[in-house]
Symmetry: C2
Subunit: 348 residues, 2 copies
Amino acid sequence: MKGFQVTLDDIAKKVKVSKVTVSKALRGHPDISAETAKKIELVAQNLGYYPNFMARNLSSMKSNTIGVIVPKIAHFFFSSVIEAIYDAAFENNYEIILTVSQENSERELRHIRSLLSMRVDGLIVSLSEQTRDYSIFQEARKRGVPLVFMDRVPGLDGFNTVVADDCAGAFSATEQAINIGYRKLAHLAGYKHTNIGRERCRGFEMALKRYGVHTNREWIVYGGFGEEDGYKGFMTLYESGRLPEFILAVTFPVALGVYRAVEELGMRIPNDIDIISFGNSGFNRFLAPPMSYVDQPTRELGRKALELTLENIRKKDQFVPQHIKLPTNLVLCKTCIKKGTAARRRTR
Amino acid sequence: MKGFQVTLDDIAKKVKVSKVTVSKALRGHPDISAETAKKIELVAQNLGYYPNFMARNLSSMKSNTIGVIVPKIAHFFFSSVIEAIYDAAFENNYEIILTVSQENSERELRHIRSLLSMRVDGLIVSLSEQTRDYSIFQEARKRGVPLVFMDRVPGLDGFNTVVADDCAGAFSATEQAINIGYRKLAHLAGYKHTNIGRERCRGFEMALKRYGVHTNREWIVYGGFGEEDGYKGFMTLYESGRLPEFILAVTFPVALGVYRAVEELGMRIPNDIDIISFGNSGFNRFLAPPMSYVDQPTRELGRKALELTLENIRKKDQFVPQHIKLPTNLVLCKTCIKKGTAARRRTR
DNA sequence: GTGAAAGCGCTAACAA
DNA sequence: TTGTTAGCGCTTTCAC
């Protein structure tokens, strides 16, 4: 094992300088003369030297590494955000250590402990659905680890957050539905204990109030954020016997669940029931019909979260929590662009 | 900075033992009496002690960490594989350090260097499209770092590989097309310099040969693995004036590109042109029509790759390269289940 | 411009 | 059962 590792000393001996000189030369420290540096680099190359990050980090007390925890990877939203985080980190010469909670708060906790143990320079967190206990984050703060919450943020003061403007996005989608004449609006609202569920629901309700549209308590259906939840949610609406004209789906998977349920019931979108989804997936244009959606700035979320973390690392002492809210954008495709025929029939 | 870190020594002083005792106790070493251990754990907890992995790893010469490099994240195939790798690593108490090449070989190289510098205990690699120079992998081997290639593997001897049975999968899809009566078969084949492109094409050609079906050189269209490539590929076929009856798409995105092109041309799947895709996306059932596909064992690929890496780490000395080929599975939905009407017309 | 000394926090080997 | 001694490979003073 020992023989395999080329160390600074090995190079030092070969060039006949001290290992300090080698260390400096390899990091481009201005102390070292161009000549010596050149010689050292050559030898390092020949020997196949790779700096040992663990040793480097241990002695310099920083890791050049940012820890990330997200609830899921194999989902369009998160994989897209993650990719943006990686790209931004790459540009800034930082390494990412990504972990996945699988929406499980215990697993989340364990991962965060690991990341702290790895002495990451900063932390980007998107909470699991389950998370209720935030003490680990207080702990991280106490230890001086810059922390940025992204998308799934806690209702806590004093932490950085980067989110999309969920409320405004839901508002504009709902507004669109009202503008084209719908008056019976439902919302498959996901979990109300998460910020995204709450905010989107708030946007939905704000629009109703703003336009004086009355809604039915039963038309706000809570559940989860997955396809199955969308399916069940629609079935609940259907079985209640009072179908709305329009549904705002809290996530794209939820909307897919609605598509599935609608198809099974032999109904048609947008004629029998119209819909807009919060978020999309790149596949949207292949849906029948392609769905209108609130576009989430996934890449910007990732990039901003990383940049904010970096900024915090650099100015650790003068920390002031920032709350970044990125705009969403309503994209109209083939749903909710004119009032459905069945709806027309019904409301007449 | 210094004050924030709780070290073994801090605990040792408080409990009035040596730091070695603390170290052992915290790692559950049998040397230490239950009583002392209990005391130590309590104090560690109170002080908010987090082991410093960098220090631990440096002195133990292992990192409990596996480096992974993939070409992409925001793709169904890879995000699904990655998630499986994470799950398997979690179960085995390993950390994953994931990096993304974005299909760029320079970036790939830089990441691998980083991972080696981090002294990962093992490496899982899925090559970028561009990669032609494999010397870094020879280098890794020389340094004794267990290495497993996954899905995108090099044509190199002496390395572990974990792949899906691309050839057999393509064969069975093609066979299906032949069985239901098609004789004009095309293949949008992706890059021929990658193993997956080559193997899938080989399966396609094997089936043709086996059933004595003659194909047209122009009906094997090379390109890339993305949606745009599928779109262009189909347009190429279309413009040639000799449309096939059936297309085997080398990836799901390529198939989507075909769907798009077909729709734009006002044609219909499966009547005017039939198709099977290699791989799917969980979204397939929402396509119009839902596409038949060769199911790739994404989760098994990830899991196997991790397990093989672990096995290699454990038995480093007795290394024998393994080549694992996981079975694929043809899933029939609404395409290529009976001969299309237009096709029938044409071949009569 | 270069290097000696000290130490980062931890673990492994060996003594007591 | 516990502790002593020596590093792991690197960086950071601070002298020369």
